[in-house]
Every structure is written in structure tokens, then in C-alpha cells.
């Protein structure tokens, strides 16, 4: 095995890189290396671990604050004329992408636990959008009516039902819209699970920094790291918020920028929440060990990952409003991660014209944990020259070629 050329080099050891490594490693004839270097703000490690397939697609979860930022800007540009609060919804193909990925998790959980021994804590929680007033209700109705084909995955709750289901939620909440299959995992255990299973199946993990990608006659031939030259046929760019840096090595420009998100974490608490919550201020998820995670901001601060007071106050106040008992509970840590943001919030996957042997697997913005599973399958199909189970066209980089002016964009 020693002197064999590597078939595939995966750049990036976050949830996307490791999930691809795992999926590809199912083919024992492939020789695979994953190159990873520690980066401050790695989104996988900062993530909340929500599998909010519908929630995120309709702009809940951390999308709420994203949406707020957008509508505030819109309001400013329209001289203060406030439009009706319409959810910031992603196109139908994206729903498909998320839902298909979500469906893969129960099997994944079994597989990964068996192969690598890591339990990534898949929890059936559901996601509730908690409503405080008529505006929230209108917002939720808008969501509900816009996706009639998914109404069997949603459930309305009035204030009495909500109180019964979640006794710690603000008594003044008027109800909730529940997304029944939007669950959660432990994000870094998921990453560990992918990585360990991939390792068991022969993937070599290298801690090093990629310095260059060697291209010969329009074809990728090697990856240069600080310490080595690794010759290979295929390179997969799964470098998250640093993907544009990697793509520039093959003269490809990716419209991916880091979008900072801050998070607060409580001390371990007894189980007080059945489901994950999204309000118009924040999202709240109680993890398997009892810690409550509160997120998240959407900020353009380049690669800064520091905590900032005003933003933490905003999130904490929103969380206390949702769960008043939190007032007396302790916050033990805060941190920030860098989501790999794209202009249309859709990942950039697949080949790029003119460069043979280069595949994008990046730009997963706020849904990388959820869509890691389907991303790995798509990339696996592309590597094996099969047609992916999902139409790849809306995910290709060339979609940005001749449009992108009217889309909302965070500046």
C-alpha cells in the first residue's frame, strides 16, 4: 500500500470533509487522504447541531436573525416602509436537499457507531417556533401555507397545548408551530464519528496545512502541504470558511465568506425542554448532557471569533424571554464560529469547468451539520462518475456566472 498514489485528497476536516471521507471509504479500492489544520472558528465545532431540515429552509434557527438583518436593511433601503414580514425561504430544491439528508441520519447513527464506535447522540426532539404575538403568528402561517406538501411534518399548538408540552416556556406565548422531524445531534461527536469510521476504513488523516494545488494541463496532479507533496487524481475542497483560499490555488474564485455566529451555553441542567426552540430572537437547544445552547448571531466580521457584549445580551435576553427560568441559571461559556456563507445561502458543490479533478464541497452556511450526509453521497457519486441522486445543477459554481444582483446579500 505504501508507494501507491493517492486517489483522493480531501481538504478540510470539519463535518463536511469527514463525512465525504467516510462515504468514499466505503469503496476499499480508493486511497484517500484527509488534510486538516486547526482553524479558529471552525464552524462544525461551533455549531448547535440542529438537524432542522424544514426549520432552516424556511429561515428559522439561526436564519431568524439572518432574516431580521435582511428585513432591517430592506426597511432602510425602502425609507422605513415596512413590508409584511415574510419568511426568508429557500428554493424548493434546497428543501429536498435538506429533507433527503435528514432521512439519512438514523441509519448513519447505527453505521457509524458500529464501525468507529462513536455515538453522535441523535435525538428526536422536533423544533418549535414559539409565537408571542400576532406578527409571529402571521409569520408562522406564512411558512405553513407556503409548503403545503410538508404540512404532515408540521403541527400547530395553542397556548394550552404548548404549556402542557413545554411547561418552562413563557406563559404568555400564544402557541407554537412544531416541525416534527427537525431533530438534533451533537455536532462535534458527529464529526468524530465520521472521522473515526473513515479511519477504520482506511482513510489517512494528516494534520498539515495545504499550501498549493499542482495543476498540469488543466488536471489536478498533487497537493502541496507545509511538509509534503501528495500526488493525487482528485482534490475535494471542503475547507469551510477557508474554501476560497483553497480554490484560489487552482485559480477559481469562490463567493464564500465567513459569517460569524455567537453562541451562549448554560451549565448542565435537568431536562427542561423536550424540543428545540426557535423564536423571533434566537434558537434554543438543550443538548443530551443537559446544557442549553443559545444562538446565534449573523455577523460579517471577517475571521474574528471574539465574543461581543451587545450581541450576547441580545441572545440572552431573547432566551430568557422564551424560558424565564433561565434568568436564574448560569451561563458558563460563550464562543463564536464562522459559517461558510454564500450569496444565495446554497452550498457550492461539484466540478468546475476547466479544472479536471477538482470538486467543490463547500459553502454550507448554516446547514452543514444537517446536509453533511447528503453532500457526502453527492460527492461520492461524482467521484464515481455516477449521476447524483439530487440534481447537481443548482449547486454548481457556474450558477453565479450571469446572475446575482437582485438576491439579498449580507454586506
Amino acid at each position: 500500500m505504501k508507494n501507491k498514489t493517492t486517489d483522493i485528497v480531501i481538504i478540510g476536516g470539519g463535518v463536511i470533509g469527514t463525512s465525504i471521507a467516510y462515504e468514499l471509504s466505503k469503496n476499499p479500492t480508493l486511497s484517500i487522504k484527509l488534510i486538516d489544520i486547526k482553524k479558529e472558528g471552525n464552524a462544525t465545532q461551533a455549531s448547535a447541531g440542529g438537524l432542522w431540515a424544514i426549520g432552516e429552509s424556511v429561515g428559522l434557527g439561526c436564519g431568524v436573525i439572518f432574516f431580521k438583518t435582511l428585513s432591517k436593511r430592506k426597511q432602510e433601503t425602502t425609507n422605513g416602509v415596512l413590508e409584511t414580514q415574510r419568511p426568508h425561504q429557500l428554493p424548493p430544491f434546497f428543501f429536498d436537499f435538506c429533507l433527503k439528508s435528514n432521512d439519512l441520519f438514523p441509519n448513519l447513527w447505527r453505521e457509524l457507531k458500529e464501525i468507529g464506535g462513536v455515538d453522535f447522540k441523535l435525538e428526536k426532539t422536533g423544533l418549535k417556533f414559539v409565537m408571542y404575538d400576532d406578527d409571529d403568528k402571521a409569520y408562522a402561517e406564512n411558512i405553513y401555507n407556503s409548503i403545503p406538501h410538508l404540512q404532515n411534518q408540521m403541527k400547530w399548538m395553542d397556548s394550552i397545548q404548548l404549556k402542557e408540552d413545554e411547561p418552562f416556556i413563557n406563559k404568555n406565548a400564544i402557541g407554537a408551530l412544531t416541525f416534527l422531524n427537525d431533530d438534533q445531534v451533537n455536532p462535534y461527536l458527529l464529526m468524530n464519528a465520521f472521522r473515526d469510521a473513515a479511519k477504520v476504513q482506511g482513510v489517512e488523516i494528516i494534520n498539515d496545512e495545504v499550501k498549493d494545488i499542482e495543476v498540469n494541463n488543466g488536471k489536478v496532479v498533487a497537493v502541496h502541504t507545509t511538509n509534503n507533496r501528495i500526488s493525487c487524481n482528485t482534490v475535494i475542497n471542503a475547507a469551510g470558511s477557508w474554501a476560497a483560499e483553497i480554490s484560489s490555488m487552482v485559480n477559481v474564485s469562490l463567493p464564500i465568506t465567513p459569517v460569524k455566529g455567537q453562541i451562549l451555553l448554560s451549565e448542565k441542567m435537568p431536562k427542561i425542554l423536550k424540543s428545540c426552540l426557535s423564536t423571533s430572537d434566537c434558537y434554543i437547544a438543550q443538548k443530551d448532557n443537559g446544557e442549553i445552547l443559545i444562538g446565534s448571531t449573523t455577523e460579517n466580521k471577517a475571521y474574528d471569533t471574539s465574543s461581543s457584549y451587545a450581541e450576547l445580551q441580545g441572545l440572552a435576553s431573547g432566551a430568557i424571554k422564551a424560558i424565564p427560568i433561565l434568568k436564574h441559571m448560569n451561563c458558563k461559556r460563550t464562543w463564536a464560529g464562522l459559517r461558510p456563507g454564500t450569496p444565495d445561502e446554497v452550498p457550492i458543490l461539484g466540478p468546475v469547468e476547466g479544472i479536471d479533478g477538482y470538486l467543490n464541497a463547500c459553502g454550507h452556511f448554516r446547514t452543514g451539520i444537517l446536509t453533511s450526509a447528503i453532500t457526502a453521497r453527492i460527492i461520492n457519486d461524482l467521484v464515481h462518475l455516477r449521476k447524483p441522486e439530487i440534481d447537481i445543477n443548482p449547486f454548481l459554481l457556474n450558477r453565479f456566472k450571469d446572475k446575482m444582483k437582485n438576491e439579498p446579500e449580507l454586506v
Binding site: 494534520n207 451562549l264 466580521k301 445580551q313 441580545g314 434568568k327 436564574h328 451561563c331 458558563k332 461559556r333
Partner: protein, 465 residues
């Protein structure tokens, strides 16, 4: 108040800095999380204990002198007690402080960090049993409380605090079964010349030894902890002679029947704040591990941030007092209150004295320098991180799968994800990783401290009421 330096920590270094500044009519804000000044070392006996035997303790007499001086300067010092610094917000240049249940922010410029140190935690089998405490913890119980920590106590570890605590506990009526010092007698004897540089402390140390002798308290050099045994509470301690590298010679181990034990292997500089403020740090195991690099004026690598006292590398409270003065002089130079020449004139004798004391302390630090035998004390199922219940075997597993630094160890095992953010287990883990991997302590790195450095109620940052 045009110039106002914020001094974080009202221990020996912080107090002496504030006093020196006051002598130059320069105002300072002195911030401390406790309800009284004095820090850990000059902690006053409780008010109701005024007639206790401790009031004649040497450290307390020294402290009282300082407190009196501090009183006289009070008009220049804005003392903010029960104020806990929680970290910084670099984008807005703010420092976050918890006061009366609310977080407030102040500017993070002109800071003198004098946060001192805390006791290093040493994991060993049974160390989480009730009845086992840090020596400082057991000592403050004897000194400040009316509750005795136990009936039969043993003190194990290294350094002079073992002697101080033994005497204080004994005076409080606790039977001291033994005091076990890991350092070897020959190592202290061979360097006894250096100890002459601080005759005051040397005498003090001798007096403690004499006290033990007089009261027939057994004192062992070159011995240390092996394990603690007990069902719900400490019942027995197994100790043994330590070899050159502090590996216990287990076939010579013996058991002591005790209900309480004070254990101390080293101190750790409290550097979370200088870490968060991005000051450059260096590593020296015999001075407690990582601490900020300072110039000869106690300036850190970050402009307008000074560091003095044990958080700048362990040298003890006498050096802390002097380094606080040097840092105060640096601030006076930097705000053009005095000339460099003037400052030098004042600093010279202070530095001379400081070097003398450092020589003394270095001898002690070398004598007490932690050795690799301690790395092997925990069994595979011994808990290393108490907050997250991470066992030693989990750390070994992580090393096996390729973890090479503290950040990766945290993500892999959850060490440092608990309430203490790794203040307890961080040093042991760094030492163990470096030892196992043959890597440098710098490469293994540290657990990045995050706001808030200690847990705070969510309500303290709540804006709608």
C-alpha cells in the same frame, strides 16, 4: 481623574502598586472578586476570630502593615470589591466585570493584572473523595472558619505551605498524622546557601519545622501520595517514598488512617485574563507553567497592559509586593508622571531586593519542581477532569487517535468544557500530553479561555426587565 489605571486583583502585588501610585497622587481603581482586600495569602481571619492564635501569624503581621498603609492612601484608590472580571470583548475594547449581579463593561486599556495564582490540582486514585482538599483550602478552613476540616489530617505535596498549614491545623486542634514532602532533603541542604538570601523567610520556615518537631509531628522528605481510599469519605491514604523522578516506590508504601488530607503539588499562575488579552506567554514548569512575558518594568507584550505578582510566574508574595511597585513605576513612566531616570532611582533598590528574594524562591521552586512521576499517579479509571468526569483512559485514547494539543483534546474528550474551563485539570493535561508525546508545553498549548471566565447568571446580561 485624568489618569486611571485599573488594577485587577487586590493581593500583595495589586495593593502595593496602588499604594505606590497614591504616593505620587495618581489614582487607581482596584478591583477584586473577594469581599476584602488581601488576596489568598493575606486573607484575614474572620472578624469573630480576632482573639485567635492566628493574629500573631507572621504573614498576618506583614499583611496588617500593608493594610494600614493602604488605609492611609484610600483617597486615591477606588476600591471595587466583590467585582469579578469575566473576560474581555476585543472588538469594543471592553473588559467585562460582574458587579451586584450585573455585568458591566470598562475600558480594557491601562490594566495592571495582579490576579495571583491558584493551587495546581494533582489527580491520583481517590482524589475526588470528600475529605481531600487543597492545602490552601484546608488552611483557610482552619484560619477563617469555626469548622474543623477533620480530626486526623495529613499534609502531602511539596513546598512551605505544607508546614504552615500543618501548624495552623494543629493549633486549631486537629491531629496531624504526618507531613510528607516530595522534595529531597539533600536537594535543599545542597542549596542552603541560596536560602540565606531571605533570612526572614528562612527563619520562618525553620520555626515551622521546629514547631512540628516540638509537637512530634512526623515529617518525611522524599515521600508522596499514592492513592486515597474510602467509601463515601476519605478513610485511608496510601503514601510511599518517591524516587528521583517522583515515581512512588510502591513496595515501600504505607497507609495512614485519616479523615482529611491537604494535597498540594505546585501553583498555577492565573493567566486567563492575559491570555484573553492576547499577551505573549512563555512556559516554565518550575514557575507554574505558562505566564505572560514581561519586560524589566512588568510590561506585557500588549501596550498599556502590565502584569505583576504570581500570575507573572510564581515567585511568592514577597516578590509580588515588589513587582507590583515596579509595574506601578512603569505606569508612571508611561503617563509621563515621572522620568525614566527618576523611576530607575526608585526601582534600583527594589530590583536588588527582588533579585535576592528570587534567588531564594528559585531554590524553593527547584526543590519543589514537579517531576514526571506525578504524571503516572492516576489509574486508567481515575477522573482527571472533575467537571466533565473525564477519566485518564479517555485522555490516553485521544492521544492514541492522534490528539496532539489541548484544543483537540477538549473537542475530543470534553476536558475543560465544564464550569471551571480547565482551571483544575488544564495543567495536568498539558504536562501529560507533552510528556506522552515528547512535545513541548508550548506546542501542546492551552485551553482558550472564553467569556465568562466563571459562570454568571443569564440575568446578569439580560436587557429587558
Amino acid at each position: 481623574m485624568k489618569n486611571n489605571i485599573k488594577i485587577i486583583g487586590a493581593g500583595p502585588a495589586g495593593i502595593s502598586a496602588a499604594i505606590l501610585l497614591a504616593h505620587f497622587s495618581v489614582h487607581s481603581t482596584l478591583i477584586d472578586e473577594n469581599s476584602e482586600i488581601g488576596g489568598a495569602i493575606f486573607k484575614k481571619p474572620d472578624k469573630g476570630m480576632n482573639n485567635s492564635t492566628f493574629r500573631d501569624e507572621k504573614t498576618f503581621i506583614r499583611a496588617r502593615k500593608m493594610f494600614n498603609e493602604f488605609e492611609e492612601c484610600s483617597s486615591y484608590i477606588d476600591l471595587q470589591l466583590e467585582s469579578e472580571v469575566l473576560g474581555n470583548f476585543p472588538l469594543t475594547n471592553d473588559l467585562a466585570i460582574l458587579q451586584k449581579g450585573k455585568v458591566k463593561t470598562i475600558s480594557d486599556k491601562n490594566l495592571l493584572i495582579a490576579t495571583g495564582c491558584y493551587e495546581r490540582a494533582q489527580p491520583f486514585p481517590g482524589w475526588t473523595l470528600p475529605g481531600i482538599m487543597s492545602v490552601g483550602g484546608i488552611q483557610s478552613q482552619a484560619k477563617c472558619g469555626n469548622v474543623k476540616p477533620g480530626k486526623r489530617a495529613v499534609l502531602i505535596g511539596t513546598g512551605p505551605l505544607l508546614l504552615v498549614a500543618a501548624k495552623q491545623l494543629h493549633m486549631a486542634g486537629v491531629t496531624i498524622v504526618a507531613v510528607l514532602e516530595a522534595g529531597r532533603q539533600k536537594d535543599i541542604v545542597k542549596n542552603s546557601f541560596n536560602l540565606m538570601s531571605n533570612t526572614k523567610l528562612l527563619k520562618e520556615g525553620m520555626s515551622y519545622m521546629l514547631y512540628l518537631k516540638k509537637h512530634r509531628i512526623p515529617f518525611y522528605y522524599g515521600h508522596g501520595i499514592v492513592r486515597a481510599i474510602g467509601k463515601d469519605h476519605l478513610e485511608e491514604i496510601v503514601v510511599a517514598p518517591y524516587d528521583d523522578k517522583w515515581h512512588p516506590v510502591k513496595e515501600k508504601s504505607f497507609t495512614l488512617k485519616v479523615d482529611c488530607a491537604g494535597i498540594q503539588y505546585g501553583y498555577v499562575p492565573r493567566i486567563q485574563l492575559t491570555q484573553m488579552l492576547n499577551c505573549k506567554h512563555t512556559y516554565n514548569l518550575n514557575r507554574g507553567g505558562f505566564f505572560p512575558v514581561t519586560d524589566s518594568w512588568q510590561r506585557t507584550s500588549v501596550k498599556k497592559i502590565y502584569s505583576a505578582g504570581d500570575n507573572s510566574g510564581i515567585y511568592g508574595s514577597d516578590v509580588a509586593v515588589l513587582s507590583g511597585k515596579i509595574a506601578a513605576l512603569a505606569y508612571l513612566i508611561d503617563i509621563s508622571e515621572i522620568s525614566i531616570e527618576e523611576a530607575e532611582k526608585i526601582a534600583n533598590p527594589i530590583r536588588k531586593e527582588m533579585n535576592k528574594l528570587k534567588k531564594f524562591q528559585k531554590t524553593l521552586n527547584d526543590f519543589s519542581g514537579l517531576k514526571e512521576g506525578l504524571m503516572g499517579l492516576p489509574d486508567q479509571d481515575t477522573i482527571v477532569c472533575r467537571c466533565e468526569h473525564v477519566k485518564k483512559e479517555i485522555i490516553d485514547e485521544a492521544i492514541e487517535v492522534g490528539v496532539k494539543d489541548m484544543g483537540a483534546l477538549k473537542i475530543r474528550t470534553r476536558i475543560g468544557m465544564g464550569n471551571c474551563q480547565g482551571k483544575m485539570c488544564g495543567n495536568y493535561c498539558n504536562e501529560y500530553l507533552a510528556h506522552k508525546l515528547g512535545s513541548s508545553h508550548e506546542n501542546v498549548g492551552w485551553l482558550k479561555p472564553r467569556f465568562p471566565m466563571a459562570p454568571i447568571p443569564f440575568d446578569s446580561i439580560n436587557t429587558n426587565n
